[in-house]
């Protein structure tokens, strides 16, 4: 049902109906706080579909501990302060589990908010499940007990990526181009350090930071890359910065390999297809549509049939499955107990691997894949964004090779 | 045709809160040269602006038998009423020739005047045909303004203080042009503060004072009426 009408009716009804509230006690409410209007809406809406799909699946099997899961969407407009307001709304509406993924700034704000809220409201704790914000700091210096992350943080991704790259002797000269903000800077500095350690012979011929989402034409940057003679580029760019960069590269006839974090993000596949960079763009992911794992392939097909879009976030499946497992293990939906149950939990991942939630910092570790994008081949079934091109695994990094130390010092509730 | 070409009846106009025109009535006949005299601030310019539709008036203005109150300036102009503003408003960046061409309402319409005709009357303009209007002297600008309006082929031309700030020689030239205009069958409504040209070339004169017409008659009659001159015109 369309949210507008639904909410209007609910809004009217909610005023007087306590019985409805009592009935609602029986559901386990998960507040989904992500952009649902404005700039990031399409991404936020897509994430929401994952949660709704999984909740329906769980509910169809009778729910958890006999209670149904209910996803409450809240629009945070990708604004940290607005997110806090929406989080407050969610808590008022009875949600004790919050989840969010778009934007490290929002994640940092939420994580901080949740910690303070729990400190100031003992007995009314909430827990925050992070499915996509990758700033390492969240599981390092700024870690706290209430925050759990299922996406590999950017350092881990770089660890995996460099572990893959170190065995590719063709790589001689690397150019780094990243967005000038914390994430881009993290990518850049980790790349430099890790490459130096693993492949000291690789020459870093360029290290560029460009303004975030403000560049209309990447041609000047591409000219620099070209002039540097690089054979590979590492970039953490996402969104338009990714699309524009690839476009400018294709225009200038730049022949390099692209090692990326978010080439698979919204619009990325379309952009790659447009530029015709067949299997020259690599992305580090925890899974993709064409990983030959039967259950995953089946879910992918079902998900596509239902929403018309591919599974972007295998980790959301991991997250929800582990949440359910934790609730069942704790025999309670109390955030404190869920949190304790999640700590150290080992669980099979969406694509059939083994993963575990490290108790030290609440970072989930899992197998990572290096995938390249190009025309579908070798029995791969799923394309992206109706381009006819799809992802293909070119490398897999086992969980063990993704583990990094953490600086997290966490205080746990007694 | 009994009705005069331009017939203004009981014209009222306000500028902001100020009641500038308080019932102005006068006529201009076909082929006639009529002057509207008066000191500054009595409403002469407002009268013309009201006729052109630049200031919204009440009352009646009929031009060639048609009521024109409520029309927009460009519509009034297209009916054949030409206006030469007091401040000249030549387009400084455009050349003399371009200024003239702008006076034409359309390229198809061929009127009484062509650029060449006007250059003949004013050889000065011809010499300066390709210089920007902004560098002309005051007198040349005045000539250009009148010529520009003539290019629109008006049947009646209203000229606001054409001799203001001009040297005697220039005043003579303007007088000559006015005569030439009249000769080609164009009626003239001359708005003046000074009597110089007005007395010489007008068929009839009106004197305005504080929003009314206070005198109507021939130049000779005005010359004879020292009281009116002293009260309304002289220092």
């Amino acid at each position: 049902m369309h949210r507008f009408w639904k909410r209007s009716i609910l809004g009217m009804a909610a005023a007087g109906i306590m019985a409805w509230g009592a009935a609602a006690q029986d559901t386990i409410k998960i507040a989904y706080i992500d952009p649902l209007s404005g700039g990031g809406a399409s991404i936020g809406e897509h994430g929401l579909k994952h949660f709704n799909y999984i909740a329906d699946m769980v509910n169809a099997k009778g729910g958890v501990l006999g209670r149904k899961l209910e996803i409450l969407p809240y629009d945070n407009k990708t604004n940290p302060q607005e997110s806090l307001l929406q989080a407050q709304k969610a808590i008022d509406a009875g949600a004790r589990i919050l989840t969010q993924g778009n934007g490290s700034s929002v994640a940092a704000a939420l994580s901080d908010f949740v910690a303070k809220h729990n400190e100031r409201n003992p007995g009314k704790e909430v827990i925050y499940l992070n499915y996509a914000a990758v700033d390492p700091v969240l599981t390092n210096d700024k870690c706290n007990f209430w925050h759990f992350r299922w996406d590999a943080n950017s350092d881990i991704k770089m660890e995996a990526l460099t572990n893959f790259m170190k065995d590719r002797p063709a790589i001689k000269k690397i150019y780094l181009i990243n967005q000038d903000y914390s994430f881009g800077q993290a990518v850049r500095s980790q790349a430099v350090t890790m490459l130096k350690a693993k492949r000291p012979d690789i020459q870093i011929v360029g290290d560029e930071l460009h303004p975030l989402l403000r560049i209309t034409d990447f041609a000047p940057y591409v000219a620099k890359i070209k002039a540097s003679g690089a054979d590979s580029v590492i970039t953490g760019n996402w969104g338009q910065d990714m699309a524009l960069l690839l476009k400018a590269a294709a225009d200038a006839g730049l022949q390099v390999d692209w090692y990326t974090y978010y080439a698979g993000g919204a619009g990325g596949p379309t952009a790659i297809k447009q530029t015709g960079l067949s299997h020259r763009v690599f992305a580090i992911v925890e899974g993709h549509a064409n990983v030959p794992h039967e259950a995953a392939q089946k879910t992918e097909a079902e998900f596509r049939a239902r929403t018309g879009l591919g599974v972007w976030y295998p980790r959301v499946f991991n997250q929800m499955a582990m949440l359910v497992a934790a609730i069942e293990k704790a025999k309670s939906a109390d955030p404190v107990k869920i949190g304790k149950a999640l700590e150290g939990m080992e669980h099979a991942t969406f694509t059939g691997g083994k993963g575990f939630m490290r108790a030290d910092d609440h970072q989930f570790f899992q197998d990572m894949y290096i995938a390249s994008f190009g025309p579908l081949e070798g029995g791969a079934k799923f394309d992206e964004e109706k381009t006819g091109w799809g992802w293909k695994t070119v490398g897999k990094i086992d969980t063990a090779n993704t583990i990094l130390p953490t600086t997290c010092k966490m205080q746990r509730p007694s | 045709m009994g009705e005069p070409m331009l017939q203004v009846r009981d014209l009222h106009a306000y500028y902001g809160k100020s009641h500038i025109l308080q019932g102005v009535t006068f006529d201009v006949g076909e082929g006639e040269i009529v002057s509207l005299l008066g000191r500054n601030g009595v409403g002469r310019s407002t009268t013309i602006k009201a006729i052109m539709g630049d200031v919204p008036p009440s009352g009646s203005i009929r031009f060639k038998g048609r009521e024109i109150v409520g029309l927009k300036p460009h519509q009034v102009a297209r009916l054949g009423l030409g206006y030469v503003p007091e401040n000249r408003d030549i387009f400084p960046g455009l050349t003399v020739r371009q200024n003239l061409l702008l006076g034409q309402k359309s390229t198809r319409h061929k009127g009484r005047w062509s650029v060449e005709d006007l250059f003949e009357v004013f050889p000065r303009l011809k010499e300066r045909a390709d210089t920007p209007g902004g560098v002309l002297s005051g007198g040349e600008q005045q000539m250009l303004t009148i010529c520009r309006t003539l290019m629109g082929d008006p049947d009646l031309i209203m000229i606001d203080e054409p001799t203001e700030g001009l040297s005697p020689m220039m005043v003579e030239l303007v007088g000559k042009l006015l005569a030439e205009i009249a000769e080609r069958g164009v009626s003239i409504l001359l708005v003046e503060q000074k009597l110089t040209i007005a007395l010489r070339i007008s068929h009839r004169l009106y004197v305005m004072g504080h929003g009314h017409i206070v005198f109507e008659g021939t130049p000779a009659a005005l010359n004879a009426d020292a009281a009116v001159r002293k009260e309304w015109l002289e220092v």
Binding site: - | Y15, G16, K17, S18, H19, I20, Q22, R39, N40, G41, E86, E161, T163, E164, G165, P168, V171, Q193, K194, L195, T196, I197, L199, R200, H210, G211, N223, L233, E234, V235
Partner: protein
């Protein structure tokens, strides 16, 4: 000879290449009512703008009671005791009559830019404003926004603002322009009243106003003063007649 209130020393002003004021020198003694007349476009308003600091002069000096005020910004000149009105009504349209006048009063009483005391609490400002309001006969209209006053009232208010600050030298630019006969008469009365004990310089076209008010008249033609003198003398001046009525006219 009495002291000179305002003194112009060979003032020149050009806009681009066009000279508008071409060497004006003038001394106005303290307490005189001085009118500047001249045909349209002679540069009267420009001269006013130069004196009041609205435009910078191209050359020459302006002295206000002996003090050089050339090149000062308008507010500085105003603070030194010269106040002016405008040809086009120039008031604060959305403020009330009272507020308009009080704006004219504040600086002269030394309240300047203060934001730590309430304006309502300033007794002297209120009294001075009341006084001016009474003088221009608008006490009954005190709370009305200036923008909705009649034209003549706005002109009167304009004069009120001009004199409110108690300047010794007042310059009025066509104070009666656009007024009806009776309104003009009232305005002349008002001007006579408010210029009592001050120096008045005015530009005016209405000759009855000029001859009714002025002690001395200067005639500005083509950016130059061609004559200065008592009204009667000016009326007889041949050059002046020509400038106004044209030379061709003889009778």
């Amino acid at each position: 000879m009495s002291a000179v209130a305002l003194s112009l020393k060979d003032i020149h002003k050009s806009f681009g290449n066009t000279p508008i004021i071409r060497g004006v020198s003038l001394d106005v003694p303290v307490g005189e009512r001085h009118a500047i007349i001249g045909p349209n476009g002679a540069g009267k308003s420009t001269l006013f703008h130069l004196i009041s600091g609205r435009f910078p002069v191209s050359a020459g000096r302006i002295l206000l009671r002996g003090e050089d005020i050339t090149g000062l910004p308008p507010y500085q000149i105003n603070r030194r005791g010269l106040s002016r009105s405008f040809q086009v009504t120039n008031i604060f349209p959305r403020l009330s009559v009272f507020e308009n006048l009080r704006c004219g009063v504040l600086w002269s009483l030394g309240y300047r830019y203060s934001f730590w005391r309430f304006v309502e609490g300033l007794r002297d400002a209120r009294e001075r404003t009341e006084e001016v309001m009474e003088q221009i006969g608008m006490t009954a209209r005190r709370a009305i926004p200036a923008g909705v006053l009649t034209y003549a009232e706005q002109r009167a208010l304009e004069i009120g603002i001009t004199i409110a600050g108690g300047a010794n030298v007042i310059m009025l630019d066509e104070p009666t322009a656009g007024m009806s006969r009776s309104e003009t008469e009232n305005a002349v009365e008002l001007i006579r009243k408010v210029s009592q004990g001050r120096t008045l310089i005015m530009v005016e076209h209405d000759m009855s106003v000029v001859f009714g008010l002025a002690d001395t008249i200067s005639v500005l033609v083509y950016g130059q003063i061609i004559a200065t003198g008592a009204p009667a003398a000016i009326r007889q001046n041949r050059e002046v007649r020509e400038a106004y009525l044209g030379q061709a006219e003889e009778h």
